[in-house]
């Protein structure tokens, strides 16, 4: 099982959710985050003082999928989240040791 972590622009959440739903993936966690890569922030002014805001609002999606479906999921998410500009985000993949369904103690890929 593979954990898929995607950092995306907040405005792309609906598109990514719809894309995942369309391929039958319906479990995910959404976290509000702040961050930046190479994307520059902006400056704000309050009473003549300048503040540079370089931690921008982002959304992080986390989902765990069966290994056979990883490439399909990554493609669906990236295509939906892409604008072509700097700041689109990143997707990270990592190994998951196990998954447990709390309701009935089910383990393994069938718990996903």
């Amino acid at each position: 099982m593979t954990k898929v972590e995607a950092i995306i622009q907040p405005s792309k959440l609906d598109a990514v959710k719809d894309a995942l739903l369309a391929i039958g993936i319906d479990g995910m966690t959404v976290i509000e985050a702040r961050g930046h890569g190479r994307q520059k922030g902006h400056t704000e002014f309050y009473r003549g003082r300048e503040y540079s805001v370089d931690l921008l609002p982002k959304l992080k999606l986390e989902l765990v999928v069966a290994d056979e479906r990883v490439e399909e999921v990554v493609k669906a998410m990236a295509d939906a989240a892409r604008t072509g500009k700097i700041g689109d985000g990143k997707i990270f993949l990592s190994r998951i040791d196990d998954a447990i369904r709390i309701r009935n103690d089910e383990r393994g890929p069938s718990a996903l």
Partner: protein, 479 residues
């Protein structure tokens, strides 16, 4: 044991004061009528009394509303305006500082402050005649206003005495101990506010333009008494207390410009009570002051907003509301003396001037006047007081009359160049009293209690460390 003795002493003092507070109602005296028909004379006397009563009712209703409006300026106007400008962890502490003035100053006002400001005394300070509000009842005092109860005048002036020290809290926000602030501001109101109010508005005051002071300073609603004293004292506090931890490197933007916006709008509306109410009657002068207030505020928004647009490329909401406040401050001394066009000019100048004070001068000298109490009130009040000397006109308010009752020149535009000099003296006295009084009290309170909170408390936030509360309890997960 000692505190019990003090409690008994305080109780005895208050009990002794109570009989003096009993109000004495006095019916208006009917004017004498030519000898003739007795019944007709009696009817005319009754009619005159009714007319006087009606005028009194109108003025009194207006003044009571104005008193409520001015109180609203402090709570929640100023509390919101200042509250939004500080970091989230300090929002309650700032609101408590303003709110506590509503409580503390009221009590001190009733006991001694009103008397020190408005009873007869000498050129500098009043006496103890009205201590515990003795003699302050339904009967008017013609020296102040012949148509409203003295009690109305007293409670109206109280609202000014409340907001003036509250303004100073903007300078030492986010780092001063609540206890030290309370002691400091109560002492300040006695040492700085009462004398200044007495000199400008009180019987026998040196600067009183209405009651024949030797150096008549035109100050309609408190440019010197309220804004210069508080603004300059704020600067002294900012310098004495020193900068906040992390200032100016660390970014400390306002946590809610929305709250400040709401507060500023309440200040604008409330200011009609502040300025127009200073006419102490519901007539044409109140209208004139009301109108001048509106035009000055509007022009100042445009002044500050334009300066900011040119300078930073965008007009900000915080800049717009700050501009409004700056214009309202500047028109405060001038409101009942200038026409709407002059008011617009005063407002426009104040908007630009205060913008420069806050964005340029403050960073140039590096003092941490946290909420720009000096930059807006001290500077704006000084500018407004001086411009009053220029633009005040007998066409608006013939405040100076000769022995024959003819209106004399008031300001420079009337031809009275001397008035600008008198204004400068009044301004200088306000500055001097504010600086001297504030330094002495700050030093004393610092030695006795200590002024600043410890560094760890400042970092954690004053809401939790000084008041045991959080302004917004949103941090827990949904239940």
């Amino acid at each position: 044991m000692r505190s019990a003795y003090l409690g008994v002493l305080l109780g005895a003092v208050l009990a002794a004061g109570c009989p003096f507070a009993a109000a004495q109602a006095v019916a208006p005296v009917a004017s004498p009528v030519a000898v003739g028909n007795n019944a007709q004379a009696e009817r005319i006397a009754q009619l005159e009394a009714s007319v006087a009563d009606a005028k009194s009712s109108a003025d009194n209703a207006w003044m009571l509303i104005c008193s409520a409006l001015v109180l609203m300026m402090t709570g929640p106007g100023l509390a919101l305006f200042y509250g939004g400008l500080v970091r989230k962890k300090n929002v309650l502490s700032v609101m408590m500082q303003s709110f506590s003035m509503m409580a503390l100053i009221t009590v001190v006002w009733g006991i001694i402050l009103y008397s020190l400001a408005f009873s007869g005394g000498n050129f500098f300070i009043g006496g103890l005649h009205h201590m515990f509000l003795r003699g302050v009842g339904a009967a008017p005092d013609a020296a102040y206003s012949a148509t409203i109860p003295l009690q109305t005048f007293m409670v109206y002036q109280l609202m000014f005495a409340i907001i003036t020290p509250a303004l100073i809290t903007g300078a030492f926000a986010e780092r001063m101990k609540f206890s030290a602030m309370a002691v400091f501001l109560v002492l300040w109101s006695i040492v700085v506010y009462a004398p200044m109010a007495h000199m400008v508005w009180g019987k026998g005051g040196l600067l009183n333009a209405t009651l024949g002071g030797r150096i008549p300073t035109l100050d309609f609603a408190g440019g010197t008494v309220v804004h210069i004293t508080s603004g300059v004292s704020a600067l002294v506090c900012a310098l004495y207390l020193g900068k906040r931890v992390g200032y100016p490197r660390e970014p400390m933007p306002p946590h809610s410009v929305v709250l400040s916006f709401i507060g500023a709008c309440m200040l604008w509306v409330g200011w009609f009570g502040f300025n127009a109410g200073s006419a102490l009657s519901a007539g044409a002068l109140a209208t004139s002051a009301f109108v001048a207030t509106q035009f000055a505020a509007a022009a100042a928004v445009i002044g500050w907003g334009s300066a900011e647009w040119v300078h930073h490329g965008k007009p900000s909401a915080l800049g717009a509301i700050s501009g409004a406040v700056a214009g309202l401050v500047a028109i405060t001394p001038a409101a009942g003396f200038v026409g709407p066009m002059a008011a617009m000019l005063i407002g426009l100048m104040a908007g630009v001037f205060c913008f420069l004070m806050v964005s340029k001068v403050k960073s140039l000298f590096g003092y941490d006047d946290t909420l720009d109490a000096f930059g807006v009130h001290g500077a704006g009040g000084t500018l407004g007081a001086l411009l009053t000397g220029i633009f005040a006109s007998r066409a608006i308010n013939p405040i100076f009359k000769d022995a024959g009752g003819h209106a004399l020149a008031v300001g420079v535009i009337d031809g009275n160049y001397r008035q600008l000099w008198n204004q400068a003296i009044g301004v200088a006295m306000a500055w001097t009293l504010a600086i001297g009084g504030t330094l002495i009290i700050l030093f004393a309170v610092d030695k006795l209690i200590g002024l600043r909170v410890p560094v760890e408390h400042e970092t954690e936030g004053l809401d939790v460390t000084q008041h045991g509360e959080e302004g917004y309890y949103w941090e827990t997960s949904a239940r």
